[in-house]
Every structure is written in C-alpha cells, then in structure tokens.
C-alpha cells in the first residue's frame, strides 16, 4: 500500500459525487501532498470555500480522481506549492478571493486582486472594505541593472485577451518571462453564488467563449452529479455533438491565427472560411454560432433543429475534403521550418504542471478526459494521438488529427442519436459534485456544492491554470520575436482563469 492511499484510508470522507472528498488534518494534508508528489500524482486544481481549502488530484497510474480538503485554521493552511509548482498561482488566487494564506508557499504576492476592487477578499464570509490601493507587484529580476525589459499588454495581441507579459531580454533572447493575469476578473464566482444552477449556467457559459460548450458541460455534469441525476440520453449525445463541433471550430481558429502570424496566407484563408462554415451550421442547428447557453444543467436548451444534422455534416464534410490540402500547406517548406523546434515544451514539465489538451499531448502526456471521465463517449471511443516533439509543429499536427477525429465523432453521434426528451426537471436538493469535460485546450473541472437547489460554493478550473506557467518556462528559451507565435501555438486563454 502506498503512502497516499494510507493517508486517505484513515481519513474521514464526504460524498462529492462521483467521488469521495477526504478531510485531512493540516499535518496529513502536507504529508499527503509530499507523498503524492513522490508518487508522480498530478495536481489538477486547488480552490477554497469559507472554511476549507480543497485540492483535486489525479493518480496518473490508476487514472483515478482524488479530492482532498483541509480546514483553514486562523486564516492559514499548509501550502502545496513546495511540492507542486503549479499550485503557486492557485494559492495566490485563494488568498485574493477568500483571504486564506498558504503557509510555506513559494509566492505570496496578489494575483487577481490588482488593488482596484472596492473590497478585499470578496468571497470570504465577511469581505473587508478596501482602505488603501495596493500597487501591482511583479517578481524580482535576477540582475536588474543589466536587464532590458520588454513589457507587453494588457492591451496587445490584435483581437486577443488581456494579459501582461514582462520579458527580460538579453539581446533578442528572452532570459526571464513573467505573466500577470487577472485583468479580466469579473467576480464570476460571487455572481454564481446563491443562484439556481439554471441561472448560474449563463456565467459558466461565459468563462471562456471558445470553450463555452465544454465549460457548460462540466458545470452541468457537476450539478447533475451533486443532485445524483443523469441527463437524458438524447441530451448527452447532443452535448457530444456540440463539444466536438466547438473543438473543430476552435482548432480552425488557432490554425487561422498561426497562418496569420507565420505568414502563411493560404492556410489562413482556407481555415478562416472553413471555420465560418462551421459557425453558420452551428447557428442553424443549435441557434447560436458559438453554441453559448445551448447546454444547461438537466440537458440541453433545445433539440437540434430540423435539418440541423445535415447542415452540420455538410460543413464538416467540406473540412474533411480539405484536410489533405491543409496537411500539404502545413508540411510546405516555409511553414514547417518556421514551426519546427518553436516553443518546445518538455514532457516532464508538462506532466508536472498537469497540462492537458493538444499542448500536453504534443509533449508526450497521454491524457484526454474524454477517454476516461467524460460520460457518453464510451461507445464512440475517441482515439488519442500523442507526440513527443513538444514544439509548435507537433501541436499543429495534433490539431489537424483532432479535427479529423472530431468529424468522425460528430458523424457517429448524429448517426445514433437516441430519441426522447432533451431536458428534465431538476430536484431542489443539497449535495456536492464534480463535473469534467475535455475542451479544446484540455480538461476542465467544475466543483460545486448545492444547498436546497441553490449554489452555495462553486469553482471552475480552466486549462489556462496549467498552460500559462508552462508558457512562461517555454518563453524563457525563446527569442522575443517568436513570443506572439508561441502564444498562438499554445492558444493561451485569459478570461477562464481570471474568473
């Protein structure tokens, strides 16, 4: 028996459907984190409520999910960041929103709180009115006197999301990269609290628009798990159709963007038009181009329109017929030379930060939530492709592979669409649950606790929490001119993790 299972076995547990959440004392929490790190477990998410701090672990060998919690004692709890580098940003977020300090943490600076809110610790049981505005704090430089600093953002990257990136340059080479996010912080968790899941779903759908379906599905599944109900089979199948259509559109968007930045106009034009066809088909079939608010707790908002399946399949067929052309454009001399070895992410680093999606799989981390945890995919058996190159070229090849695979999944799901209702009435019960979905950027996890049908506490984990720390390390070996292309190749989000 391993050390981790030993600690869990003796701990008390609460039902957190579909798993058990283990309550650990402060000493056990730290011991558990140390053991988990030794046994190569992965930290998927860390968050809090007013009295406890929670962490979601993945046992990578057994592919099991283990939620654990520890009580907050006079505003403190033992930090996970000494064992898991990715925990540092969660701990900064927890301090900004709930006011709990991570004892022994590697980074105590604010993260989401830029000193502009009218109150501090907005999610604490008693938020404090803010008296002084704290200025933003960026990290120490290794050698400030020698450094040439290139600050970028928060307004940058044509039609992109707000983020600040500070690059310290040595000639054209980036020596240090530090990201600062939180600009798009909208107080989403406060807005979701106290609402019914049906009303709060609008906020889940607006965490990150190119993963609006994936976030909505994870939120809906968390709600359904907490209530111990299951969405009707037809709704589950339609969710898969929407999630895969969203994946195709988002991959095409990234390909378009890379075509623009890497001077590949033919790729840019082709992918832009193919994406537009998909969005128009989604509009006709589901009533919204991005399928926002189409997935709700209890099912889907409306059945697919008459003739909708044909429209979706026609749009996807036009992509399928162009896939060979897209591959040829990609493997052309100029573009493949531009992308090879660009923004290379090491496999060990990607695994330790729990990076999923195309970026994780291009660096050898064979993890896809669809193959293990997402309900409904069982019969369709999504195929998983993994590369070990870790560079922008590997990510591009996986994107093209996933577009093809998603087309197959949509066709299969539409072929065997079960008959029946697409939603149901939700009971007014209390409970706790976790939901999961594989978005275009990787796995999304939603946790929530219901109190008589109202949301008492909720936390959504966007893939950005894993992608950004990885991007920082990858940028540190790159040249400044490549920063924009590397960012596009990672498809770095902001809003979803700014909450």
């Amino acid at each position: 028996m391993t050390r981790t299972t030993d600690i869990i076995r003796t701990a008390e547990a609460e039902l957190c459907r579909p798993w058990l959440r283990h309550m650990l004392s402060a000493a056990d929490w730290a011991a558990f984190a140390g053991a988990a790190a030794t046994e190569s477990w992965t930290l998927l998410a860390q968050w809090a409520d007013t009295v406890q701090v929670h962490a979601l672990f993945l046992n990578s060998d057994a592919l099991s999910i283990v939620p654990v919690s520890t009580p907050v004692d006079s505003g403190r709890y033992p930090a996970l960041s000494p064992y898991f580098a990715g925990a540092a940003w969660y701990e900064r977020m927890i301090r900004d929103l709930w006011g709990h300090s991570a004892e022994g943490g590697t980074d105590g600076r604010p993260w989401l709180d830029h000193g502009t809110w009218p109150l501090a610790r907005p999610l604490a049981s008693r938020p404090e009115p803010r008296t002084i505005a704290d200025p933003l704090q960026l990290g120490e430089l290794d050698d400030p006197s020698e450094a040439m600093i290139l600050p970028i953002g928060p307004i940058w990257d044509r039609l992109g999301e707000p983020a600040h990136l500070r690059l310290t340059l040595d000639g054209p080479a980036i020596r240090q990269a530090e990201a600062l996010l939180g600009f798009a912080h909208k107080g989403t968790l406060t807005l979701m609290r106290g609402k019914s899941p049906r009303a709060a779903a609008r906020f889940a759908a607006r965490l990150s628009a190119d993963a609006t379906v994936a976030h909505s599905v994870a939120f809906a599944q968390a709600t359904e798990a907490a209530m111990d109900v299951v969405a009707p089979p037809r709704a589950a199948a339609l969710r898969i159709v929407m999630a895969e259509v969203e994946r195709i559109a988002a991959h095409l968007d990234t390909l378009t963007e890379i075509g623009r930045l890497a001077d590949a106009p033919a790729l840019r034009t082709l992918c832009g038009v193919l994406r537009e066809n998909v969005l128009r088909a989604s509009d006709a079939a589901f009533g919204h181009r991005l399928m926002m608010d189409c997935v709700i707790p209890s099912g889907v908002a409306a059945d697919i329109a008459d003739g909708g399946p044909q429209l979706v399949l026609r749009a996807l067929g036009s992509i399928a017929s162009q896939l060979d052309a897209l591959r040829r454009l990609h493997d052309g001399a100029a573009l493949s030379a531009r992308l090879a070895r660009l923004g290379r992410a090491g496999g060990k680093l990607a695994a330790s930060l729990a990076v999923g999606g195309v970026v994780g799989r291009a660096s050898g981390r064979a993890f896809d939530a669809r193959t293990v945890f997402s309900s409904g995919y069982g019969k369709l058996t999504p195929r998983l492709a993994v590369r070990t190159g870790g560079d922008a070229a590997a990510r591009q090849h996986l994107r093209l592979f996933e577009v093809e695979e998603s087309i197959r999944l949509v066709s299969a799901a539409l072929d065997s669409l079960p008959e029946g209702p697409v939603s149901m009435t939700l009971p007014q019960v209390s409970g706790e649950g976790i939901g999961c979905a594989e978005s275009v950027r990787g796995d999304i996890w939603h946790w929530l606790r219901l109190d008589h049908g109202q949301i008492a506490a909720v936390f959504p984990r966007d893939p950005g929490w894993a992608l950004w720390p990885l991007a920082e390390r990858v940028l540190e070996n790159a040249t400044a001119d490549d920063a924009a292309l590397i960012r596009a190749s990672f498809a770095l989000p902001a809003s979803g993790m700014d909450l």
């Binding site: 502009t116 809110w117 044509r158 039609l159 107080g187 607006r206 968007d253 181009r289 926002m292």
Partner: protein, 164 residues
Amino acid sequence: MMLRAPRSEPPAPLDPDTTQSLAARLEAAGQVRLGRSLAICHVNSGSCNGCELELRALDNALYDLERFGLRFVESPRHADVLLVTGPLTRNLRSALEQAWDATPDPKWVVAVGDCAVDGGVFKGSYAVLGGTGLSIPVDLTISGCPPAPARILAGLRSLLEANA
C-alpha cells in the same frame, strides 16, 4: 492666297459657377472614394473572448473587412476608432483610459457586445464597473452576446458612411 496654319482660338472666359460646382463635386467624390478608411484598434476591457471570436471572423474571406477600408491596427496611436469589448472590469479601467488618451483626435468609440454596452450579465459585480460609457464617451453601440459578424460589420460601415 497663302494658306495659314490653323491656330487655336483664344479661350472664352470660364463660367465661375460651373467651376465652383465642379470643384465641390470633385471634393465630395474624393472624400467618398478615397477618404473612406478607418483604422480600428481593439481594446478588450474584460471580455469572455466571445466578441473577439466574432471580430476575428471579420478577417475571413467571406466578410473581408478590408474591402470596406476598415482595418485593425495594433496601437491606439494609429487608430481612428477604439473598438471596446467586454464589461469594464476595474482591473482594466486605467488601461482603457490610457488607450483613449493615446488615440489621436478625431476619434470614435464603438462598444461591441452586451457587456460593453452596459455590463451585460456581469452588471452588479464588485469587479465590474459596467459599460464602456462609464469611463470614456461612446459613439456607437452594437449589442448582442456576442453580436454576429454581419451585425458588427453593418455597424462599422454605418460609422464609415456617417464620416465619409
């Protein structure tokens, strides 16, 4: 009799009214044909990325924004129009105001999407001020969550017509 080479006759005096009306027509036509261009700088004031996805669609070959003389620029210093998306978060207020200050006059501000119009679903949050108009003067609003590209394009073209 000697044949003399034909000579052009001295011109008659110009009709001043015709000259003036022609000059005015030329200027107007020039304004319409040559002066129809607006440089747009996009400012994200806290959006969920939905409006950006639809704005990016304006770039594709089907909408092809540039054929109307509309183009996106990277810096507010090069812009005629600030196109703002997202509810105005407190964390981005000063960035938006700095972008507005950096935009040369004459300038226009377009608020795109329900959030930029009045805060949208995020109204009332401690972290959100509301619409773009709470911080800088707005000339045109385009509602929708997110507005479809055709709708954004129609709004931008009407701005173009109004300023031609």
